[in-house]
Structures are given as structure tokens and as C-alpha cells.
């Protein structure tokens, strides 16, 4: 019984393919629109996946725990002496101070992120992140150095120069010598970034000695991060304690929200396509009615004729899905998701020059399938049944 059923479906599929070919021009419009809809949805998902993947790669360098101080709900400075409280917590392997601030450049209208890192003071290099360092750094050790992002490099017009200046709060100028530029692969988080020494950052922002914006905590056992974070929040009153996991979740939520928002906006076009599909499936030409009448007259059941329509819809869906997804892949890989990147990456002055790499995820396929193919098949079931109702005696 089962093999006969399989054989029956194979025969009907064979007939459906022939029918599709005979009516290929009738189905072209629906097929093209379907492919376009899938292309758009798949592009969104692939770009989101690519960004999430890029963020995941970069977030490996994020500290286990970041501590900030809040006063009246706004970020305030942490005093270095708070370190002594933290050193009592068992499980912490290292605590590093950091200054993290924003510098508004009036000339370019851009906001730079400025990070002062104690490690940079010591080693003049940043471990764990890809940087193109200058080979010919022969400047005096006392000179303020910085590693900058590609967008900072471009906005400061540093084409032939190796130094730039920023204003202190008292409007005096502070010069920085550029020792390196962040690699383009890190652009997602480094495009607007200036990393310099802790003291240089403190000097730039006019902060007092011993004042920091963040304390970066490394934990020996990753399973203990949440526990230690809780202890820190209890010991330093008014502190904001952020774990690596939370930063990752925030990025995911942000990308997920934007992708979802884009999809919501697209639902209108999906809805319009479904109506088009319904309309097309409902319209039967006299020739098609005659063909169904002949099939019924020679012994085909209504269910058999419906199977033909079902397989036709499946073939159209499968082809449209394959082509739409492939085009989306090419759109992201070769054209950097040109059409939808601004929606997902934002519209700031310094958008990161990120090169997107599409990531294949089975979950994405399921999602795209459920938003496009399923509604299409559901919408064509009833018209398929109606078309199968042609009576066999209608041809007599």
C-alpha cells in the first residue's frame, strides 16, 4: 500500500511538472514575485546572521565583567581605591582600570569613542584584536600614541599624516601619534574607536588622578562569572556590573530587533504576494477546466487533481526559494548587503566599513520557509480544490 502511494505521488508529480512546463508563461509572474519576496527576507536574515557572527568573533576580547559607577542614574567616575574592595573577592584573576569616553569632533560632526587602556601604556600594543601597526615608530616614548579605527582615519584626513590633535576641556590641544589602525574585519566595533594610554585619555578628558570610568575584571572560572558579578554589585554600592554574556545578549537583541522590524515592514509585501497567489490560483482558463474535466472523466479523483496543483505549488515554491536564497547569498557576499545594510547598521556619520560574510544557518531556512512558502501553500489549497471540482460530465 505504501509503495503504491509513493508511486502514485511520483506519477502525479511527473504530470505536474509537465503541466507547469505547458503553462510556464502563466506561472512566471508568480514565480518572479515569489523569488523577490524570498530574496528580501533571506537578505535580512543573512545580514543579521553575518553581523551576529562578526560580533561573536569580536566579543571574545570583551572582559568577563565590566564595572561602572552610577550617580543619579548617570555614569560617574570610579576611584582607583575601590580596587581594594574587589581584590578580596575570591575567583578574580585580574582587575584592570579603563577610561571610556566620547569625543565630539566639531569639524567632522563625528563622535569618537576614546578608550584609555593601561596595557597600551605598557606595551604599546593591544592583544586579542587585529591591528595594522606602523613598522617605523621612532617617536619619543613620551609622545602620546593612539591606535585608531578606519573611519577616524578617514574623517581626520590622515592620508599622508601620522598624527592628529583633539581639544581638551580647557580648549588646549592634545596631539596623538598614530601607531596603528584597526583591521577592517573589526570595523563593527572599532570604526569610530581611538585607543590610547590610560594617562593620555585621562589628560584628554581633564580627569583627576585615580579616576576611571570602568574596571575590567577577569575571572578564573567562566562558570563563576555570574556569581562573582553578584558579589561585586553587593560590595560596590551604586555600581553597574555588566557581564560578557550580557553584552553578547544585547548585541543579539539589537540585531534581532532590527531584523524583526525589517521583516514586519516586509509583511505587507508578503501579504500582497499571498493575495496575488490566491488570485492566480483561482483563475482557471477554459482550457484548464477542460483538462481537469478530462482527468476526472478518465478516472482521476478530486484528491488526485488537487495533488497535481499541490505539487505545482511545491515546485514553484522550491525553485523560488532556491533562487531567492541564492540571490540573497550573492547580494550579501558580493555586494555587502547593499540594499538593506543601512537599516541594520544604522545611519551614523561613522558607519563601519564592514565586509559581510553570509553564514548558513538551518534555523534561517526554517524561518524564511515559514514566512513565505507556508503561507503561499496555505493560500493555494482552497483555489486548488475549487479547480479540482470541475465535473467529469462537463466535457460530455
Amino acid at each position: 500500500m505504501a509503495p503504491r502511494n509513493v508511486s502514485r505521488q511520483r506519477n502525479i508529480l511527473d504530470y505536474a511538472l509537465g503541466s507547469l512546463w505547458r503553462n510556464r508563461f502563466k506561472n512566471t509572474g508568480v514565480f518572479l514575485v515569489f523569488s523577490l519576496v524570498i530574496f528580501i527576507i533571506a537578505s535580512f536574515r543573512l545580514i543579521t546572521g553575518s553581523l551576529e557572527h562578526a560580533a561573536e568573533q569580536l566579543l571574545t576580547a570583551v572582559p568577563d565583567i565590566t564595572i561602572q559607577k552610577l550617580t543619579a542614574g548617570r555614569q560617574d567616575v570610579i576611584l582607583l581605591k575601590e580596587l581594594s574592595e574587589l581584590k578580596k573577592i575570591f575567583g578574580i584573576s585580574e582587575i584592570k582600570p579603563r577610561i571610556w569616553g566620547y569625543y565630539f569632533d566639531e569639524l567632522s560632526g563625528a563622535n569618537y569613542t576614546v578608550i584609555g587602556d593601561a596595557a597600551f601604556d605598557d606595551h604599546r600594543q593591544l592583544p586579542g584584536i587585529s591591528v595594522a601597526y606602523r613598522a617605523d615608530d621612532d617617536m619619543d616614548p613620551g609622545v602620546s600614541r593612539a591606535v585608531i579605527g578606519q573611519s577616524v582615519h578617514d574623517s581626520k584626513n590622515l592620508a599622508g599624516r601620522h598624527s592628529f590633535s583633539l581639544f581638551r576641556p580647557d580648549l588646549s590641544l592634545k596631539s596623538f601619534y598614530v601607531t596603528g589602525t584597526f583591521a577592517e574585519t573589526t570595523a563593527l566595533v572599532t570604526a569610530d574607536l581611538i585607543v590610547t594610554g590610560l594617562n593620555d585619555a585621562s589628560d584628554l578628558f581633564g580627569m583627576r588622578e585615580g579616576e576611571m570610568t570602568d574596571l575590567l575584571v577577569s575571572v578564573r572560572n567562566p562558570a563563576e562569572i555570574e556569581t562573582i558579578a553578584k558579589k561585586i554589585s553587593e560590595r560596590i554600592t551604586g555600581s553597574r556590573v555588566i557581564t560578557k554574556r550580557q553584552i553578547r545578549k544585547t548585541y543579539r537583541a539589537a540585531f534581532g530587533w532590527r531584523s524583526g522590524f525589517g521583516l514586519v515592514c516586509l509583511l505587507g509585501s508578503v501579504g500582497a504576494f499571498i493575495i496575488l497567489a490566491w488570485d492566480k490560483a483561482s483563475g482557471l482558463s477554459e482550457e484548464q477546466k477542460r483538462e481537469v474535466g478530462i482527468l476526472k472523466a478518465v478516472g482521476w479523483l478530486t484528491a488526485d487533481v488537487m495533488s497535481v496543483r499541490f505539487w505545482e505549488s511545491v515546485v514553484i515554491s522550491f525553485l523560488a526559494f532556491s533562487i531567492g536564497y541564492t540571490m540573497a547569498w550573492a547580494h550579501v557576499l558580493f555586494f555587502d548587503g547593499l540594499l538593506f545594510k543601512p537599516i541594520l547598521l544604522g545611519w551614523s556619520v561613522l558607519t563601519p566599513p564592514l565586509s559581510l560574510v553570509p553564514v548558513f544557518r538551518l534555523a534561517d531556512l526554517m524561518l524564511i520557509f515559514s514566512i513565505s512558502v507556508l503561507p503561499y501553500l496555505a493560500a493555494t489549497v482552497i483555489p486548488a480544490w475549487r479547480s479540482a471540482l470541475v465535473r467529469p460530465d462537463s466535457i460530455v
Binding site: 543579521t48 543579539r252 530587533w257 524583526g260 515559514s370
Partner: protein
């Protein structure tokens, strides 16, 4: 998180299924009011044609619900990366009070749809459609379940709060209902497994006998057969309990990781897929055997029901055997090896 891509996908599936069922229910309403198999009127001919349509709609809805269950679990796994305190799909589903009920309602609607399809296949194998009114009455029970499924899903997704860093606080250590990692507490394994073993034996013997019993179903027997359907559902949820509490820790090699969903992940060789496929196959085939037994005395169904009963009974037993083999494999290997590999 209603605007998340996963949410849109899940809602799309729910709405599609609801739409298909509504059309089926419309047919059911007309059939219950006007069905007369002895009449040759245009209306009767039309209703017979709509019976065919309803079958296709429910089959399609069943396929979408099956996909939807899988998507809900995968979505929960994805949400666990964004939610407070959630370590895996378990944590995401228990993030509010609507997640687990949504999943349970979805599973129930899946079983009822499968039962409807079995009734339909049997019904259309007889020239007088003896089960037509009963099966559409069943559809009237499936519709509110699907409606409830959609409502619970919307409430679940709406009440999910992503763990985004806020201006006032970083880490939230507020107490969650559970630890976001374990669906159920530890239970003593001996009584758990003893009861389970007994249930397996009883169901196997009764299903085997039922698949071969051609005698007419008396009132008492029909009650017993109906009770069997309830037993099968009970077996299903009990099996999920055993998988979660007993088997899964052995698969994860972690005594404090009792999650029925992570079995579907690649690090655990996707063992969850064959396990749950066989479990669902066992229960659906078992329920089908009971339905076929119940309907055997209907007009024109003696032979088709007997054939179906035999087929379903065999399928049930085969699936049961393989399911149990996978269920006990990991704990057994652990005992034989005296610990992890």
C-alpha cells in the same frame, strides 16, 4: 519580542493553521446540519466534495503544527541567548508562565489532528462515510485548542523581556521560578522507572491484542478502548518525564542538567530527533490502533479498519522497541562502563 524574526515565523505558522481549521470547521457546521448520504441533491454532492477538502486542510495543518513545534523549541533555544537567566531552551520557555503551556497545547493539538486524520482516512474508505459527523465534531474541539495555542504564543512572545543592558543596572539577579537550566526537579529513579516499565508492558500487550481482535466492540469495550487513548497520552507525557529526569542527564553527562530540548543539538549527536520521532510515532500509532478498533463496527468499515489496525499496531510496536532502545542506551552504557566513556 513580537517583532523578532522567530516570533513572526511562529505566528505565521499559527495563523496559517488556524485559517485552515476555520475553513474545515465551516464545512463541519454545514455537514452537521445538512448531511444526508441517501440524498442525491446538489447540496449533498457539494458537502461530499468539501469532505475531501477538509481532509487536505487538516493534513496540511498537521504538517504545519509539526514544524511549528520544532520551531518553538528552536526559537526558545535562540531566545535563551537574549533572556535573563536563561541557559537553554528550558530557561526561555519558563521565562514567563505562558511558554510551557503553549508547547503543551501545541502538542495536544498535534495529537488530536493526527486522530482526526486517522478518522478521516477510515471514513472515506466506506461508501457511506459513517464517521463523518463524529470527525467533524472532533474538529470542533481542535479549533479552540488552536485558538488557545495562538493566544498563548502571543502572550508568551509579548511577555519575553530581553536581557539588554539598561541605564540603571547591569546584571539582574532577580529570582526566577527555576534555575533556567532544569525543567524538573530530581526524582527518585526506581519508582519512576518501575511505573514506566509497567505502563510499557500493559500498553504493548493491549495494543498487540487490539490490533488482531476482530470481534464487535461492545459498550464496555468501547469505553476501554477510549480509555486506551487517554493512556497513550499519559504514556507520552510520562515518557517526556523519563527522558527529562532520567535519560537526559546521562546524555549530557551532567547530573544537574535535566533538559528535554538540548538533546536536539549537534553536540549531543542530534539524538533528540530520532528519540522524539519514535516517541511520537509510537503514541500516534497506538492511538490510531484504538481509533480503528472503535470504528470497526461502523457500516462498511470492518475490513478497512481491520487492515488499518494491523498496520498501526505493528508500526506502534516497532517504534516502541526502537524508542526504548535509545531511551535506555545511554544509562545502560554508563552502568556498563562504570562512568563516562
Amino acid at each position: 519580542m513580537l517583532t523578532d524574526a522567530w516570533s513572526i515565523g511562529l505566528l505565521s505558522c499559527s495563523i496559517a493553521t488556524l485559517f485552515l481549521c476555520l475553513v474545515g470547521v465551516r464545512t463541519g457546521w454545514r455537514i452537521l446540519g445538512s448531511w444526508d448520504i441517501s440524498s442525491g441533491s446538489e447540496l449533498q454532492i457539494r458537502l461530499e466534495e468539501e469532505v475531501c477538502l477538509s481532509g487536505v486542510l487538516v493534513e496540511f495543518g498537521f504538517a504545519i503544527q509539526l514544524l511549528s513545534v520544532l520551531m518553538l523549541i528552536l526559537a526558545a533555544d535562540y531566545f535563551s541567548n537574549i533572556l535573563v537567566g536563561a541557559m537553554c531552551a528550558t530557561g526561555a520557555l519558563t521565562a514567563n508562565s505562558y511558554g510551557v503551556p503553549a508547547l503543551i497545547v501545541k502538542l495536544l493539538s498535534l495529537f488530536l489532528s493526527a486522530a482526526w486524520i486517522v478518522c478521516h482516512k477510515l471514513d472515506i474508505s466506506s461508501e457511506c462515510y459513517p464517521l463523518v459527523k463524529s470527525k467533524f465534531l472532533l474538529l470542533f474541539f481542535i479549533l479552540p485548542l488552536l485558538l488557545l495555542d495562538t493566544i498563548l504564543l502571543v502572550l508568551y512572545l509579548y511577555n519575553l523581556e530581553p536581557d539588554i543592558i539598561t541605564s540603571c543596572c547591569g546584571v539582574l539577579f532577580s529570582a526566577q521560578g527555576n534555575d533556567g537550566y532544569n525543567l524538573l526537579a530530581i526524582m527518585p529513579s526506581t519508582p519512576l522507572l518501575s511505573i514506566y516499565g509497567g505502563l510499557v508492558v500493559v500498553l504493548t500487550v493491549i495494543t498487540f491484542r487490539m490490533s488482531r481482535d476482530s470481534s464487535d466492540v461492545s459498550v464496555v469495550s468501547s469505553f476501554n478502548v477510549s480509555a486506551m487513548i487517554g493512556f497513550w497520552l499519559g504514556f507520552y507525557f510520562y515518557s517526556l518525564l523519563v527522558i527529562t529526569v532520567f535519560t537526559s542527564p546521562f546524555i549530557y553527562a551532567m547530573p544537574h542538567h535535566r533538559c528535554p530540548f538540548d538533546l536536539l543539538k549537534a553536540p549531543y549527536y542530534l539524538i533528540g530527533y530520532p528519540l522524539y520521532f519514535l516517541l511520537h510515532g509510537t503514541v500516534m500509532a497506538g492511538i490510531s490502533t484504538s481509533i480503528a478498533r472503535l470504528s470497526g463496527s461502523s457500516e462498511g468499515l470492518a475490513l478497512p479498519a481491520a487492515r488499518f489496525r494491523l498496520l498501526a499496531g505493528r508500526l506502534c510496536l516497532v517504534c516502541m522497541v526502537f524508542f526504548l532502545l535509545i531511551l535506555i542506551y545511554y544509562p545502560l552504557m554508563y552502568q556498563i562502563r562504570g562512568g563516562e566513556g
